[in-house]
């Protein structure tokens, strides 16, 4: 569904993406993990067309994404830090997004479960980080897209809301959607993920299915499996991340 061919991106000296190749398909839930600054968000933004790679190509359903923007109607994106027009209110924001999209059927489950309908007059600039995150999540799921790209979805959410969101992601997974998710909280990914892709310094260190990973490491838990991979397969410099993974 999404095919990435030899993507490179440099920000001045930093090689943010270094020859990334990947293939994501329907029904997969891919966890993108790696230390801060490893290129996860840059990869996600490249898929969305927000970042233009220096070289390489990205295909969505076998069509080059640089040719058309229509493919984006199939993607629901939840950014790491949601930034919205300051002088808009929550209600106005949702009305506007619904207005500019042709779809007339909406999945408003999260909008109501996060109780955003009770605060439509709250201005976007007055929102706390967590409420902002709820708005981002509700927007990402609003058009019932085939692909969901979630950049640290649970960061900043209270435990209750976090569970609500996880339930929703699970429900969408059951429908056979492609879900790309980054998170540093590996326990959040535990029940969701089917594939793991580990990035570091803009390179894919490994990309494996959960079954492969479990078989190879002999560990059941994702966190422990990643830790095992790092201890046995990777160089010393990753040891700092290993501590966090535990």
């Amino acid at each position: 569904m999404i095919r990435i061919e030899n993507i490179n991106k440099r920000f001045k000296k930093l090689h943010a993406l270094n020859g990334i190749n990947a293939h994501f398909n329907k029904g997969q839930v891919i966890s993108l993990i790696g230390p801060n600054g490893s290129g996860k968000t840059t990869l996600i933004k490249s898929i969305l067309g927000l970042v233009k790679p220096d070289s390489g190509q990205i295909f969505f359903n076998n069509e080059l994404i640089s040719e058309h923007v229509e493919y984006r109607k199939n993607i629901g994106y939840m950014p790491q830090i949601g930034r919205y027009p300051d002088n808009m209110k929550i209600g106005q924001l949702f009305k506007m997004i619904k207005n500019i999209r042709p779809e007339k059927e909406w999945d408003e489950e999260l909008y109501f479960r996060f109780k955003l309908d009770t605060i439509p007059d709250k201005s976007m600039k007055a929102l706390s980080g967590g409420t902002r995150q709820k708005v981002s999540a509700a927007l990402a799921f609003l058009f019932n897209p085939e692909v969901l790209i979630l950049d640290e979805p649970t960061a900043g959410l209270d435990p209750l809301s976090s569970e609500v969101l996880k339930d929703k992601i699970l429900a969408e997974k059951e429908k056979g959607k492609l879900i790309l998710i980054t998170s540093h909280v590996l326990s959040d990914l535990e029940d969701l993920t089917t594939d793991v892709m580990y990035l570091q310094d803009g390179k894919i260190i490994f990309a494996k299915t959960m079954t492969e990973l479990r078989a190879e490491t002999g560990e059941e838990k994702l966190g422990k499996a990643i830790a095992w991979m790092m201890k046995h397969g990777l160089q010393k410099q990753e040891v700092s991340y290993l501590k966090i993974a535990r």
């Binding site: 984006r72 109607k73 027009p85 002088n87 500019i100």
Partner: protein
């Protein structure tokens, strides 16, 4: 496209700067027409104010607005909307609000006091300059890395077009005063939309009689319909070219 422009326009109207700009233009125009006995003299004074204020406000306001709506632009780009559509909607929204402000602030007094070809010429030149400098502001904003640099660039461009350029032209004219310079001056004025607007309008007025032989040759050119089309054509180039370059570099930009 107009759906997005509508939201841009709505956002602009809410922050009231454009309304203050309209009021300012209106008060200045009204008081000039009130003070001067001779309305064509008032139009001349008004022209000088318009040539300074309109480019400055268009440049600075467009730049600031572009950066203030960056979140909005980012949000639009996560939707199935092309970058070209987003930037042209922004341009339509900002430029139409500024042109409306100008047409109300200056247009209404001109219609009341001096409804003739000179008055219409002033409104035309003012609107064109608004479009030109909004377009230049877009180029400066897209090409700059942050808000401070973009506003700095916008201000420098204003200094260049409103003040420095005239000095350069005068230097050239003095240095080559022994040669016939009519054609060269025409070319030089086309390289600055403010100058072009000024010359076009001055030659619609009676004051051009005081400009001697050069004034007379220009009056033949700018007084005819060819002059009008020439002025409009150059202005359109000044609108389209910066905007096209801005769209192209926006297409390549990382967000």
């Amino acid at each position: 496209m107009f759906k997005i422009s509508k939201y841009v326009l709505y956002d602009i109207l809410r922050n009231k700067v454009v309304i203050a700009y309209t009021a300012f233009l209106f008060i200045v125009s009204m008081s000039l027409f009130q003070m001067e006995e001779n309305t064509s003299k008032a139009v001349l004074s008004l022209l000088n104010i318009v040539l300074i204020v309109v480019p400055l406000v268009s440049l600075v306001f467009s730049t600031i607005h572009w950066y203030n709506s960056y979140e909005f632009i980012e949000l639009m780009l996560t939707q199935p909307i092309s970058r070209k559509k987003v930037i042209s909607s922004e341009y339509t929204g900002i430029s139409s609000s500024l042109v409306m402000a100008f047409l109300i602030g200056v247009g209404v007094p001109v219609l009341i006091y001096n409804f003739d070809s000179t008055g219409m010429g002033l409104l035309l030149i003012g609107s064109m300059l608004t479009l030109v400098f909004t377009s230049i502001a877009f180029l400066a904003s897209v090409r700059s890395k942050d808000k401070a640099r973009a506003i700095g660039a916008a201000l420098l461009l204003w200094f260049y077009f409103a003040l420095i350029y005239d000095g350069l032209v005068l230097t050239v004219l003095f240095a080559f005063s022994d040669y016939p310079m009519e054609k060269v001056t025409l070319l030089l004025s086309s390289l600055n939309p403010i100058d072009l607007g000024r010359i076009y309008l001055m030659l619609q007025m009676d004051v051009s009689a005081l400009m001697g032989y050069t004034g007379a040759t220009y009056k033949d050119f700018f007084g005819s319909s060819v002059g009008l089309f020439y002025t409009l054509g150059i202005m359109v180039i000044w609108i389209v070219v910066p905007l096209l370059i801005a769209v192209r570099s926006f297409n390549k930009k990382d967000l």
